[in-house]
Every structure is written in C-alpha cells, then in structure tokens.
Symmetry: C2
Subunit: 219 residues, 2 copies
C-alpha cells in the first residue's frame, strides 16, 4: 500500500519505519523535500522509502498519516493541499502541544475545539480519523509493549473510514479489535487531546512513556 506520512519527527519516523518493515511504500513529507530529519530516516531504513514535501506525501499516499505535532501542526498540515487529500483517509495522530511556556506543555487548542476538528474543517473532503494520539509512538506500533488489555480511542465523522482504520490498526500494528473504541464524531478529539494533560503527568510520574489506559466497564 502507498502511505504518506506528514511530519518527520519521532512519531512520523516511528510509524514510517514500522510501515516500511511491513513492506508498504512510504513517503515522508516535511516542509522541504530534503530535510535533515527526512534524510536521516531514509538512511535508517536502508533507502527503502521516499522523501517529499507535505504536498508530495499527501499526493503519494492512498492513506495519509498526519504526524505533525505541536503548536504549528495545523499550519504544517495546511501545506498538504486539499486536492491531494480529497476523498482520502487522513489519520490525524498529532497533538497540539505547546512547549513554548516550559514544562509541562499546554495545549494550543482545547475545550471547545481540537486539532482533529481543525484538520477536518481545513480539509472537508478528507475523511479525518483521529487516533493513536493517546499513546507513545512505540506503543502505537507495538501495543504488546504494554501487557494485557488496554485501549485505543478513535473518532471521526466517516463510519466507513473508521472501520477501515480500525482494521489497519489490527493488521499493521497488532492492536486487538476489541480494544479499539469508536467514540463517535470528530468532536471527540477534544477528549482524546485533552487527555494529554493527564498522560503527561503520568509520564512524569512513571519516567517511561510505555503505558496506556484500559477502560473498565461496570454493571
């Protein structure tokens, strides 16, 4: 499968490497086609991938993973181009973390809006699915790093896109089908992004990003 990945940071690189190992054709996109981070990644996978701009990677992918992160995430995503994303599944992975005011980071958008919603508004013809943003990237691609049952929350406006994405999570990364919770439309991104405020404190306490939550239902 042809997969475009926007963002050459830790999250984008980890997902890209895993997808290359699975035999997919992967293009990593960044602001410039020849970024240092991009070249470093390409070397790390023995040249088995492609580099391009955000627009190149969006055009290349049958599915596009938006791994741009931080305060400029939506500005970066904007460079992908509406025509390149039309009708495609856009998996929105990043979080709107703002480190500019020190640690712990705050969110650039929350409460009444979210990065997931901003992405869907920016590209109304893309089929945005928010997911994977509630776990560390090493857990994303290898959920067995956290033992036992634990859950991944997805949301988006397009039910068929969510079903396909849930299947990919199982097929690509080994998530258990029963551990993928569909939380409804894209406005649920507020909840999964605001969860980061709790996640970051848990990370600080444990000193390791390798944890996740299990939603336990009662009577």
């Amino acid at each position: 499968m042809k997969i475009g990945i926007l963002g050459t940071g830790m999250v984008g690189s980890t997902l890209a490497t895993k997808l290359v190992k699975l035999g997919h054709q992967v293009m990593m996109g960044s602001r410039t086609a020849d970024s240092d981070a991009g070249r470093k990644w390409l070397q790390s996978v023995g040249g088995k991938g492609k580099l391009g701009t955000f627009a190149d990677a969006a055009a290349f992918g049958e599915i596009v993973l938006d791994c741009t992160n931080g305060a400029n995430a939506i500005a970066a995503l904007r460079q992908a181009g509406a025509a390149n994303l039309r009708g495609k599944i856009l998996i929105q992975v990043g979080n709107p973390l703002d480190f500019s005011k020190g640690m712990p980071p705050t969110l650039t958008v929350c409460n009444t809006d979210s990065l997931g919603e901003q992405a869907q508004r920016e590209y109304p013809e893309a089929r945005v699915v928010k997911e994977l943003n509630t776990v560390n990237c090493e857990v994303m691609v290898d959920p067995a790093r956290v033992p036992g049952e634990h859950d991944l929350i997805i949301c988006g406006n397009d039910a068929a896109a969510k079903r396909e994405v849930a299947n990919r999570l199982v097929e690509w990364f080994g998530w258990k089908p029963g551990n993928v919770i569909d939380l409804g439309d894209i406005t649920a991104s507020r909840g999964t992004e605001m969860f980061l405020a709790l996640w970051i404190r848990l990370f600080g306490k444990f000193g390791s990003p390798h944890f996740n939550i299990r939603v336990v239902r009662g009577k």
Copy 2:
C-alpha cells in the same frame, strides 16, 4: 469523625449518605441552611445528619469535602470561609463543568489552570487534595461497581494530607490501596479535570456512568 460536605447535589448527597451509613457525623452545607435539596437528603437518611451553610459545614468538619460543581463551584466554595478551613484537609471533588452552552459540557477553566488550583489559591492554609472527580459518584463510594482493577488519581501539595486521604478512600469506600495513584502537586488537577472531556464521551457511548480507567504500565 466529623465531616463537612459542601454541595447538596448528587455527588454531595451520595458521599454524605455513605458516610452517615458508616457512622460518621455529617453536615451538608449549601448557600442557605434550609435548602430543599438539603432537607430532602436529611429525610433520606432518617434525620441522621445536619444541615448548614457552606461556612457551617466547613467549620463543623474535621475533614471537608468540596462537592460543589459546575460553573459556580469556586464562588460557592468561597463562602466556606478561610478561618473554617485553616489547616484542614479539603477534598476537592467537583469539576468545572459548564452546561450553559448545551451538551456536551465544556470546562470553565482548563489547560493553564484548574478548579483544584483555584481552591488551593483561595484557601492557601487549607490542605487541598483533588480526587474522586474522575469517576461517577456511585463508583466513588462503591468501586466494586466496576469489576477488577481500576484506578483513582489524587493530587495535592501536602504529602501527609494525600496519605491520609488515600487511607480514607480505602477505609470509607473500599478503594484498594494499590489503585490510588498520587500524581504530584495540585497542578495535576488540570489533567484529572480535563479528563472529563473524555469521560463525558465515554459516558455517552456506554449509556452508563459506571466505568473507570485502569492505568496499565509496560516494560
């Protein structure tokens, strides 16, 4: 033990009833000493409790539980009076939920501040512990409603107060000691309050408030 409870809503009433059943002396406080909700509660426990103003209940309690909720929580808490709370443990249970703009509710404060922090700033000589706000009130007083292992997150600036509160959670309500996670100082309230955005969507999906999360740690 003498326990003051601020707020005669569903959360305050549920906690008060449980504490009365355990044999504690409980005073429920509200804006006026003879509120309808207060009298209804007193009747429901066969008169085995007291009613008063916020200030009365704060003065009465050896420990005070702040169960005021919603957009006016801090204004209500303000009526408790600094002298009545000096040196006391103030368990801050409520969430800053704003239902005025429709469903789902948003938060009146988040991201760079929290209700827990506001309470500690309002009463610098009180020993504020934020807790219980991440679960439904029926789960608060009966964690076995949710089967198996699941966690409660507490935070606050006073380590001794947190230890005592963690012991009370075990003694009063049956929480398992190993399931109480101390997340650090009172600023961690941001995380547990912002978690509500996710909680509310899970509640909507399940159609039941009887669930909780388990934090699962990996390698």
